[in-house]
Assembly symmetry: C2
Homo-oligomer: 374 residues x 2
């Protein structure tokens, strides 16, 4: 029979009496903070942290990850730690998350590393780069292939401790009002596409445009832009892009498996007792998978609605366009590595892992999927 009785209550009792006495001695019932708290006291100290994000509050998928991390942390710590999540612009701007966590004005943030490319160019590799790693592959590189150690080393000078925290899976190339039948159609194409993807488009003759999310719909509708990328069917359907664009292009070569990040102020992190650190890391890892599961489960339903109900035309990019984008992407990444020591180090690790893992996938999952789909 199952036996999970209350073991050694006498010892428990003594430990807890010791704890109470320590508490009395150290904080003197005064309500004041005290330094030099011993380990037992630290273990039970309450933590109420604030987390800022780059997403609208409760945004489906992306914005739910920090909410879920906060819930898990509170539940697992039995209320010892609470995290209050703020949407973009509630306390800091969407792209002010990195600075807020770095300065310590907020203990935590949730965002995507490629937003900090002006400050930390190598951060882009920990989110997604064109023709890079898929969701499974970036997980394996980050957690088991040396990626996480590099990531932490590169964020350390900013006093930030990063933890992987979500993945959307392969994104769509996006919404178009012009057909792309060959490379010629890329010339002069005005598309909202940020980051390295935008640089690739520019090199291929297109015109990458930077616009905030809120202006995209009207810009598409009025012809200010010809195209925009966003996320994938689940988020795009809610946004209503199908009402402003004719074609939905794939594959999302520019963001094959973007990993999101939980940012933690390093001093705040170091002040936590070990069990709360493990709780935060484990909650984030669970949510890292959960987000991918959610997108995967919802994307096809949304895609079906877009195609069957709203009559969206689904199109694959022509081979010559893909080929050209791939060549340009590799050249841009090689050039970046020449200009930045951190990128050189990260790219070396990333490139080697990508070569290995894609070779292996060819004879395992890719070969299986091909066999299944025949």
């Amino acid at each position: 029979m199952v036996s999970y009785g209350l073991r050694k209550p006498r010892k428990n009792l003594m430990r807890n009496l010791t704890y109470i006495l320590t508490l009395i001695v150290l904080v003197g019932c005064s309500g004041e903070q005290s330094t030099g708290l011993d380990e037992d006291v630290l273990k039970e100290k309450k933590y109420n942290w604030r987390l800022v994000t780059s997403w609208p509050k409760n945004y489906p998928g992306l914005g739910m990850a920090p909410e879920r991390i906060a819930d898990l942390v509170e539940e697992m710590s039995n209320g010892q730690m609470t995290i209050t999540v703020y949407g973009a612009e509630e306390q800091v701007p969407a792209f002010g998350v990195f600075d807020a966590v770095s300065s310590g004005s907020h203990q935590m943030g949730h965002s995507g590393g490629y937003f900090w490319k002006g400050k930390v160019p190598a951060a882009q590799f920990f989110t997604s780069v064109p023709f890079g790693l898929t969701a499974d592959e970036i997980n394996a590189w980050v957690y088991r292939g040396g990626g996480l150690e590099l990531w932490r080393e590169i964020y350390q000078p900013f006093n930030i401790y990063p933890i992987p925290a979500g993945n959307t899976g392969t994104q769509m190339f996006g919404w178009f009002n012009k057909e792309i039948n060959s490379l010629a159609d890329i010339k002069g194409l005005k598309m909202r596409i940020p980051g390295i993807g935008g640089e690739v488009l520019k090199e291929a003759g297109g015109i990458p445009v930077t616009l905030p999310g809120g202006e995209l719909f009207t810009a598409l509708q009025t012809g200010v832009i010809d195209a925009t990328e966003w996320v994938g069917p689940y988020n795009d359907l809610t946004f209503g892009f199908h009402q402003a664009a004719k074609y939905y292009y794939y594959p999302g070569w520019h963001e094959p498996g973007p990993m999101l990040e939980l940012l933690i102020n390093l001093d705040a992190w170091n002040s936590l007792p070990k069990h709360l650190q493990v709780i935060i890391e484990t909650a984030s890892k669970a949510v890292n998978q959960d987000m991918l599961d959610e997108y995967l489960a919802r994307n096809n339903q949304a895609l079906t609605e877009l195609v069957d109900v709203h009559g969206v035309e689904l199109r694959r990019l022509p081979d010559d366009v893909i080929e050209e984008f791939r060549l340009i992407s590799n050249k841009i990444l090689d050039d970046l590595a020449k200009d930045d020591e951190n990128i050189a180090k990260v790219y070396e690790s990333y490139k080697n892992f990508k070569k290995d893992v894609s070779e292996y996938h060819k004879i395992s999952e890719d070969a299986f999927v091909e066999a299944r789909n025949k």
Copy 2:
């Protein structure tokens, strides 16, 4: 600046004094168990559980998952819960795990659902079926597509609460001493391949053989069998199969993304305070991803060693063989659903999800991988 002071110590103190007094009243310092413990006491009660597995102690990949879950649970609960992991045969036989957990002789087990096909035929769908879901896809189905609810419903009569806990990724078809150049070569092929995969082989004219792991090497070497499946390069290299077989065939159509399971005795589960339940579920979800990351990061290194150092010949199954296996697999699954009410229900959900997710993958990750590999 960061502020995470010791909040309301007076309240903490009172809560803890109350806890101490409750403890004194309820257990009377006698060392005896007591019923009717109130919620605060339950929250701090110690749990020392035992976990039996179907793997040799510390077996790379598979066998490390329960060890990692145990470590995470102990750390996150700050020592409130410990789990002692036993390898196969240490306390119960490898395939006695389900019964041990069902009876409550052990609170926990770690294994694979398809081992219980004699008892719970529908359990196979929660591990892997031929030409079924990949690792990402089964995660999405189980966690976000209704799979987990069905799984729990089906294990409930056995007094077991299942939690997903690991995935090896797509396995290899296995080790062969006979070349497979066409369907004709399958006739009379003696292969160690368990489960539905074995039934498919039989239907195609082969002879599935059941042998314990320990006898496989000699059986291959002496020609008692012509072939065997195992896991993938990482585990297979350690086993030394390359010293007993000539060819290494892919893809692993029979096990495209096997999900492993943490089994918990339902009474034991229900006796846990909420925060320990959330800790166990979250640790398992983190480990579910971790195992896949580990296999993905290690498999190509092992494969390279097998091919470059040990001269193993890597071979793809011919198209007509794959095609035949796929047709037979679908027929067998359809037939199983006709004979078993639970399978009918699970298969309906599984099949619909597979159709949707594989349609979606075609235009997202699969299309991307094809574009990247060109």
